[in-house]
Point group: C2
Chain length 438, copies 2
């Protein structure tokens, strides 16, 4: 049977119990056993780690579909007019930030490993290309400081363009550049696969959270739980995906229907009026079933089981350039976006408490724990462990264990995650202090 009759969930093998790896917590870089990620083969003359003294891969092995990276992000100043040469300043004059990234692979770990080794370099390059705008009170209209029209600053002001918009733009470009690198490297090495990406960057008193996929980050404070990311799945991006199939029907090769129905239709439904939605609809309506409505749906299944073209559980991420529907030539990549959604947390504006943290985790955690349950665990754990220098790592570990039935479980009916689970716990108090040092 083709993919319509029996779709094979492609994304990742479930029931691989025991593959859950340890967390990389915010203080993971203090651990002596952390090993740096390999230098991406980019042929640069400077050593790869000139700007990344402490990027580590947070104890992931090459066999994990989940991969992680974190470290210091040192952004150099570019000499005006000589863009290909770098003016090496003393370290104090670097613009420094911090970087945390989670990659959840599918179809093998190759894309996730490449992303963990590459994305920070792409981001550094993108940030260095606009560093003049980052350090200015307001980004200049022209990058070289020339002012061609006297009212240029006013135009920039009226558009409300701030330095943080350049960081958002740099993150968006870095994800796309990294996706291209992954595409080339996978093709060259004959490998397959893709990954989600959730990236946090702390820079100039702000925390940027860039998400492409179904990982999640939340802010947990004493009296507040705030989502910092939104999941991108075939369900949450239904209208975008249906719209694309409407514009380019050839992408479905006559094998799928772009319409959504409550279930897959069958012969008995022919001629009946059934519930449906198309790309322009948020609500539901009824239509009379025609033969073409019996095809396999572009997006099918509910919740965690929802699949794009019967194949993929996420609608944004990196890689998957070669991915096709089983036994067909129908490509997934045209429906996938590599561009992340970026949210900005103004850390300097928060009245920070000692125990305010950001929790970043792959979907394995959120499958079994709600935001509220995670916040409850955070608030239960931290106040009693204020003297422990490794308490944030231990909290991350405890969160993972609680998805595996190791702790007195909070999860409904002792739910257990058989997925890879990765967690970062980022204490904001030190970020705020650190960033205010610069």
């Amino acid at each position: 049977p083709g993919p319509r009759a029996s779709p094979v969930p492609y994304r990742r093998p479930r029931f691989l119990r025991g593959s859950s790896s340890s967390p990389g917590a915010a203080d993971a870089s203090r651990r002596p056993d952390s090993r740096p990620v390999r230098s991406p083969a980019r042929g640069r003359t400077l050593p790869w780690n000139a700007g990344y003294a402490e990027i580590i891969n947070a104890e992931k092995s090459e066999f994990n579909e989940d991969q992680a990276a974190c470290g210091k992000l040192c952004i150099r100043r570019c000499e005006f007019g000589a863009e290909e040469e770098w003016l090496t300043l003393c370290p104090e004059e670097f613009l420094t930030g911090h970087y945390w990234a989670l990659f959840d692979g599918h179809g093998g770990p190759a894309a996730a490993i490449l992303a963990a080794n590459t994305l920070h370099s792409c981001l550094r390059r993108q940030l260095e290309a606009v560093v003049e705008g980052l350090v200015a009170t307001q980004p200049p209209m022209h990058l070289n400081g020339r002012c061609i029209c006297p009212s240029d600053p006013q135009f920039v002001e009226e558009k409300g363009i701030r330095a943080e918009d350049l960081v958002i733009g740099a993150l968006e470009s870095a994800f796309q550049e990294c996706d291209e690198v992954i595409g080339r490297e996978l093709e060259a090495s004959g490998q397959m696969g893709g990954c989600t990406a959730l990236v946090a960057v702390s820079l100039q008193g702000k925390l940027y959270m860039a998400n492409a996929g179904d990982s999640r980050a939340i802010l947990v404070r004493r009296d507040e739980i705030r989502p910092l990311s939104f999941e991108f799945t075939p369900e949450t991006e239904r209208q975008r995906i249906q719209q694309l199939a409407f514009v380019y029907p050839e992408l479905l090769a006559g094998e799928f229907t772009r319409l959504e129905f409550p279930r897959r239709l069958k012969g008995d439904d022919l001629g009946q009026k059934v519930l449906f939605r198309d790309h322009h609809m948020s609500g539901w309506s009824y239509k009379r079933v025609e033969k073409s409505d019996l095809k396999y749906p572009l997006i099918h299944g509910q919740g965690r089981q929802a699949r794009l073209l019967g194949t993929l559980a996420v609608s944004r991420g990196l890689g998957d350039h070669q991915l096709r529907v089983l036994d067909t030539n129908i490509q997934l990549k045209p429906f996938l976006l590599s561009v992340p959604q970026v949210t900005v947390l103004d850390v300097d504006q928060l009245e920070l408490q000692e125990d305010d943290v950001v929790v970043m985790a792959t979907d394995g955690l959120w499958d079994v724990l709600s935001n509220e349950q995670v916040a409850w665990l955070v608030r239960s754990f931290l106040p009693g462990n204020q003297e422990d220098p490794h308490r944030f790592s231990k909290l991350a570990q405890m969160l993972i264990h609680s998805t595996q039935g190791k702790e007195d479980s909070l999860t409904e009916e002792g739910q257990v995650s058989y997925d890879d689970v990765s967690v970062f716990v980022i204490p904001l108090h030190s970020q705020g202090q650190e960033s205010s040092d610069h």
Copy 2:
């Protein structure tokens, strides 16, 4: 000079002082001088107003670009299996609701008048087509009540499909159907123009707010101001519009650039790196200016001055089928959506106070008064006028006067609106009571 050198704001003549018309308030139907809208020429055998005993056009003349309509919405039951015939039940068995609509025309009042005369009929037909689902606890998978697959109710349940999703779907379809009617009627009569549409429907204890354009509705309560609609302008829909130009570059006929810059570029900018955004970007980045970047931008101008293709200030609405960029053959319609965004207010779940109201108004009001200023005026006016049966009409009138310097003005620096202004004030208290009778 063509449209690129000197774009003519198409939308509506400003400085037509004195054209502001009186408000249609929630109790306008009590006024004896209200005249019903004309029957749309749809060739139905039933009198047009069988279901709309009280639709009035809220004192608008045919010369106003703003048009309005409100009245009772009576939805009949459809006899199963005989879809083209109607089973006339006694009035008590009708499903009844209320309807308020504001249409802000541009390029003449023709589209707004057609919309005021037509949209409620489209909506009634759409609601009547799904009435079986509206009155059920949960919409059935099949409209005729047959259950082909025993687990059909479970599929509907899992998708979370509720009766309110059918009303949203009916509103979405009604706007599109009305847009088609307007296109046909304008072409047949050789007329031009388009209009925005903001429609409120009170049905089964819920208030639905459907918006296509830049009118706005807010809920004002003693301790709360809640936006019930979002504006659709070239600025708020930038990414959708740029994306379309990316997919169909021929829509720009080589005359426009889809990229956004802080200002229009000129010869001196060639070769410089300037701030820009493309369709996939929320943030900003820099690009080196090429010759094609000097073209007139697809979206240009700031705030109220922002224009699509140098021509139109809104990106959703009805009509504009023939609209072209001045002196060119470039069409606006492909970039416009007629589908509204619908929000739902669960009135039955609010603990209603006597003075809780919804304020709906065209952009003329919101150009000079903020949500907070409108709420302040509402809260200042209503408590002192509790005995006046016309207080909601008077409040609507007072809101309009305060945009015209007639009241002791709240607006910044005595700002005055020269635009048409239309306002509905809908008291929720009576809606809640009424709806709970059904």
